[in-house]
Subunit: 472 residues, 3 copies
Amino acid sequence: MSTVLSPHADRLLPADPGVRDLARRLYEAVAHAPILSPHGHVEAALLADDTPFPDPATLLITPDHYVLRLLHAVGVPLDALGRGDAPADPQDVWRAFCTNWDAFLGTPVRYWFETSLSEIFGVTEQPSAANADELYAHIDALLATPALRPRALFDRFRIETLATTDDPVADLAAHARLREDPTFRGHVLPTFRADRYMDPSTPGWVVAVEELSDVSGIDAGRYSGLLDALRRRREAFRAAGGTATDTGVLDAGSWPLGSGEAERIHAAGLRGEATAEEAIAYRHNMLYRLAEMSSEDGLVMQLHPGVIRNHHRDTLARFGPDSGHDLPDVVAFTRPLTPILNDFGTNETFRLVLFTVDETSFSREIGPLAGFYPTVYAGAPWWFLDTPDAISRYRRAVTDSAGFAKTSGFVDDTRAFCSIPARHDMSRRLDAGYLAALVAEHRLTEDQAFDLTHRLVDDIPRTTFRLPGARS
Amino acid sequence: MSTVLSPHADRLLPADPGVRDLARRLYEAVAHAPILSPHGHVEAALLADDTPFPDPATLLITPDHYVLRLLHAVGVPLDALGRGDAPADPQDVWRAFCTNWDAFLGTPVRYWFETSLSEIFGVTEQPSAANADELYAHIDALLATPALRPRALFDRFRIETLATTDDPVADLAAHARLREDPTFRGHVLPTFRADRYMDPSTPGWVVAVEELSDVSGIDAGRYSGLLDALRRRREAFRAAGGTATDTGVLDAGSWPLGSGEAERIHAAGLRGEATAEEAIAYRHNMLYRLAEMSSEDGLVMQLHPGVIRNHHRDTLARFGPDSGHDLPDVVAFTRPLTPILNDFGTNETFRLVLFTVDETSFSREIGPLAGFYPTVYAGAPWWFLDTPDAISRYRRAVTDSAGFAKTSGFVDDTRAFCSIPARHDMSRRLDAGYLAALVAEHRLTEDQAFDLTHRLVDDIPRTTFRLPGARS
Amino acid sequence: MSTVLSPHADRLLPADPGVRDLARRLYEAVAHAPILSPHGHVEAALLADDTPFPDPATLLITPDHYVLRLLHAVGVPLDALGRGDAPADPQDVWRAFCTNWDAFLGTPVRYWFETSLSEIFGVTEQPSAANADELYAHIDALLATPALRPRALFDRFRIETLATTDDPVADLAAHARLREDPTFRGHVLPTFRADRYMDPSTPGWVVAVEELSDVSGIDAGRYSGLLDALRRRREAFRAAGGTATDTGVLDAGSWPLGSGEAERIHAAGLRGEATAEEAIAYRHNMLYRLAEMSSEDGLVMQLHPGVIRNHHRDTLARFGPDSGHDLPDVVAFTRPLTPILNDFGTNETFRLVLFTVDETSFSREIGPLAGFYPTVYAGAPWWFLDTPDAISRYRRAVTDSAGFAKTSGFVDDTRAFCSIPARHDMSRRLDAGYLAALVAEHRLTEDQAFDLTHRLVDDIPRTTFRLPGARS
């Protein structure tokens, strides 16, 4: 069995030689284009501080739930991966990863790793139990060098714009430091994510409301105050360069409440007495209010419904959230979003990007909604669907219903900084293959395909997310 | 960027040269076969009157909700497309269409337009803001010529049979004029669509019942009278050549009511007092009764569930129905159709063609139902799924479960007369590609593929819809 | 029209010549590998008795619901296929099959038959009305020869392990005779299927409970006794070589009941007084208890939810169950299995293989569950999805989410003994094509593909189902 690690220049391009030739040219036209990353989970402080990364495992394994879940699925306990109470030796974690490298065969995690290991770290061998320590030492040594510091990688990755995800109470200090630093040329934009304030039956809600009051200087002890406080923080995010919000909810229900009823549930929530039904009604109303705010301030609303968080009770208790056991649910959009779309669906300021973890909604709901409402965009395949085959199915299911202009452009959605270029590169290759296939079937001309390959990595995401440089 | 408009001879055929060669031969074998159009929305009066078409925008843009929705999605208001109260200048409408021509990239609407503009109107340039007026003048001049009159196009399109969609109270006079006209050779068949009579909670139901009483001469003021009146009108449709009915409902529930309960709800509906639950029960019962009637008179029952009509309140208020904001819903068949299938599923007179806007039902419900019940046929991909990729998915999801003989054959379902040949041509090309792929994978012989390419445009739709010339 | 029947050596391999060449080599590497059949419906007595098969129709047509449903769908009544009260002449049944041979075009049933007829019976002509009698005589004569006896075919098919499906009260005598017979070299393993004991509202439940008491020697008149009796029978199955259980339920709900409540419903069930809600609660609890037992005794739990049994009332009354009108339902896993996965999801003894008839669950539920829980495996496409295209979709939807190691390996799930090699051959060809495509897209190396083609027919199913020879 060959142990060479050497990503092929034509990887992910179509197998048919005629199609592949054009796909390769379409890919090469954008292979080195700047990266616009309008949605992700890298911290701004990483770049503001520019502290060297600690070690291979802490950088690449322990924080990445994509990696954790697949290793866990083949029997590696999460404490062996650095997630337990007792600290794990990073070299042991790395060894567990290398020893189980075959678990990733056929998955995009392996693909991202192969690209990153090769292009960032110059690794030329497939990880294995045999070479784990050697690889660890090699990468660890590199991480101490200036070329592997976060900002150096930011430049090397050609990232132009990177959106972070931030709580409304975040001080955005790291964003400010970057903006004011003349030596840093990228755009690092905060994204307003108010999930903690939506559901008065969750444990952290009361604390969140208090923190928001403190930070905003507006008493969120009343529902009307909460809305005002959120509005004020949105202003702060806009002032810090933010162009978008993000919301992750179990379902997309958006039925508004009268202010009396909302105040009543709000008060019950503060007393710890909100019922399950009240909490749902409140959450649906909050989704409506966030849309209403977007229709006023123009922050692009991203919506990510349908993830069941923390499915395994014991894993949550022992290893906390984001440890690999969030799972997709059936998702609906057309019915639950009726209130929002009736009231803001043709509002010129409002914009709504819909993401799904249930691919049945691509052709049934997301494409048709984006194909009528000028405010609605079909979000790129996300979590669980951010794989070569699912991305191809997305293009085939959405484009013929909504056209290219109403798709969002790629989002990497990652907390794994080093995977950013590999993920965007994957998307560019797949889009090139898709466009080349359309040319081969005479559904596009070659001219149009070249125009689109550029648009998909530039003006389409720029416009969708109102990024710096957007035309409209 | 090239501005040439010149549909390629091999468009939509598979890219693989080996497969494409056979696909081309399979396509050519039926490219000029007569068109059987068993389901659509062209008016019989169009052909009976044979009045010249008014202008390019009124013919091609304003009435076509496929076009409206995509232009609306990129920000063109519907009043700029001729749908507002104030009449729009057709030349302005046409200009808006040409200016936003790129919105259709990757969609079948563009494909149908390219074919129609090229083959019917001899257009050789891609529409654009620059040539909009010139194209308008060119097409407008052609529309005044005899060759572009409806009947001349009907012949040129090689339409053999065209089914219209008609309310039970329709006088079918235009159908009669065509049937009695020795100079007209096609079959133009009415389709009985009783949607207005199903739901006693809808605004128009009372008026509909009164109109039906008047036209049928049977008092539909009682439920039993309504059924009798519908039966009488079905007889009139059959006498006028009709072979099928069509029903569009929100869901496929078909639980029958006892006559006492149905009479009671009917009376409540006439008083404007039917509750939402009663209205649903009544509608489910009506679906059952329509199946019962089909099991008696042999009109093929077409069922199109799952479309949420008029999703955007303001658009409905300002622009009326059919303005682009009907949207798909989750659709079920197997459970809700249990009453109908238990009672008529093996009845030799009954026939039921199932259409979906939710492609998850292809392999889960429609294929399996058509693969057991001799009465059930898998309807061709319809609205939102009438695209090259969704049609290919339909073939791959249904054929291996139900075989070819239990698929319905293509339906164009269009109110855009000029798109009929382009839509059938698209279907023939895709089926040729599918058959060629099966031959390439040695799942069919070439002989069988040639036999099937003919059957799919001839005896399969003829048999399914009991069209003139059907063998059984 | 050619009438030759001659399965092509490259059938089901990819059409692209470059990909096909590698696919062919991958296929050839495992074409003759022993068959592991961990899930099916062949009776152990067939092999223990080794009685010659009676005639072509009784062997190939009448018992196979895959064949029945498609013939029924094109209008052949089930009594003409040997399923009625009055016995049908097998030669007439065979003639009905041959006459309607075209109904199978495009379906895997035709594919399996072509392979079986050619390879087992040396048939060289497509069945037809013209040659039906001749084919019948040919096959009938062969069936009388020693080479066509069940055990001879078992060897010729290279079956290493065959799992049967058995009721807990089965005496497993045939399994014992085979195990003790030194002239029989295969493994024939019983599978514990306790469906009859799950739902106290079904007609046969009281009788089943009584039979279980008799056979186990434990009074199952109380719920606690039922559990003990099932445990004792599981021990008997394990002693007879069984490694797995199977459960077919309408839904995967698994909420446990306290023992008091379960005893109460159990008693109500014995009195014929369990309500529908109680019966569902009891069934959900039983699913939980079966998982609990698997977590103790290590029998691999197979779960097949979502089949609506006996959809057509009259067909059930006239022809009994398994006559072609079982139909798929919408299926869910992630939510209903929460109790089982919370309690046993990381238990090292427990193992759960999830099968679906609703392919939307591949990427939304089954892949993600198998991609986190070490106990969960993604079951191969089953019933309605055991077709070339659905199998390809499964690979594309599950692998990138869960990797290869967490897929189950192929199961033929057949009661048609002669179709076993054709079904496994189909799977091997499709997997070879999939792996070759991944190599062509540079997502796997050729080395890795060759390794996987072997693993998919050997250590992957062996490990999943804990078959003889499994490494872990």
